[in-house]
């Protein structure tokens, strides 16, 4: 059974990346715009109840792509609104994603102290 978890993570995660690759190759969307779209689509799909079930069986295959970032925001907002009412709409999203954002900022800053950028080829 545990092997199946890895297989679904691989297939779903790979498929989500292929959709973005097609968008990059076939449209004029820049990677930055695709990342922004992916987060917003993740929020939307979670809001309408589609993304939750995908996370259930694909695990990291659905939470690691940036749509999973949107999933975390939407889930956090929903929980916070349930507990605190309308105020939760302001606190839920960033609270749920604070771990990832803070980790990226801290590690990124530390990296800038240790490393220097390599000349671009």
């Amino acid at each position: 059974m545990w092997l199946l978890n890895y297989l679904w993570a691989f297939l779903i995660g790979g498929a989500i990346c292929v959709i973005a690759q097609i968008l990059i190759d076939k449209t004029k969307l820049t990677p930055a715009r695709i990342l922004v779209s992916y987060v917003c689509v993740g929020v939307l799909l979670t809001a309408i109840g589609v993304y939750g079930p995908i996370v259930e069986f694909a695990g990291a295959g659905a939470t690691v792509p940036l749509t999973g970032f949107g999933y975390a925001i939407a889930n956090g907002v929903k929980t916070a609104v349930d507990q605190q009412g309308l105020f939760g709409a302001l606190t839920g999203g960033l609270t749920a994603t604070s771990g990832g954002i803070t980790a990226a900022l801290c590690f990124g800053f530390i990296a800038s102290l240790i490393f220097s950028s390599k000349p671009k080829k």
């Binding site: 973005a20 690691v64 999973g68 907002v77 916070a80 302001l90 999203g93 990226a104 590690f107 490393f115």
Partner: protein, 147 residues
């Protein structure tokens, strides 16, 4: 080769743009990164961490690895081959933060690193947050009126 011939040559090359190959690479690398994330997720759960926290920790581990590889100058070489396969997973978000920070070091730590670290991360956080607030307001109204 005159202008017309050159145009035909370029268009011919563009038609053969290796989209299938790109998609194949994106699928393999994207899938591999998510599988690695799944391995960390299950490892943390075996260690007794609750599922939601383990999932965040798995993402943070991938963020750490992506930033380390960016600092060592390896990430760009992988990303050039894998395209969306490294951009779309959380590793791409982490790479954008670290590479902006590294590239702007010479502009100083406040308006260089401090500001430019958000070049790609900023829009992602802004529009993610906006969608979340919009969803929260709608969800509140629906539950308040319907419930």
């Amino acid at each position: 080769m005159d202008k017309q011939e050159y145009k035909e040559y370029v268009e011919g090359r563009m038609k053969k743009s290796p989209i299938l190959k790109n998609c194949f690479h994106a699928f393999l690398m994207g899938g591999a990164i998510c599988t690695l994330g799944q391995a960390f997720l299950e490892l943390y759960m075996v260690l007794g961490v609750e599922r939601a926290t383990a999932s965040t920790l798995a993402s943070i581990t991938l963020i750490f690895l992506a930033i380390l590889l960016t600092g060592l100058g390896v990430f760009d070489n992988i990303a050039r081959l894998a395209g969306a396969g490294t951009i779309v997973p959380i590793t791409g978000f982490a790479n954008s933060v670290a590479s902006s920070a590294l590239d702007t070091k010479s502009e100083g730590y406040v308006l260089g690193v401090g500001a430019k670290i958000f070049t790609i991360a900023g829009p992602v956080i802004l529009f993610g947050t906006m969608s979340g607030v919009l969803y929260g307001v709608i969800y509140y109204l629906v539950t308040a009126l319907g419930g």
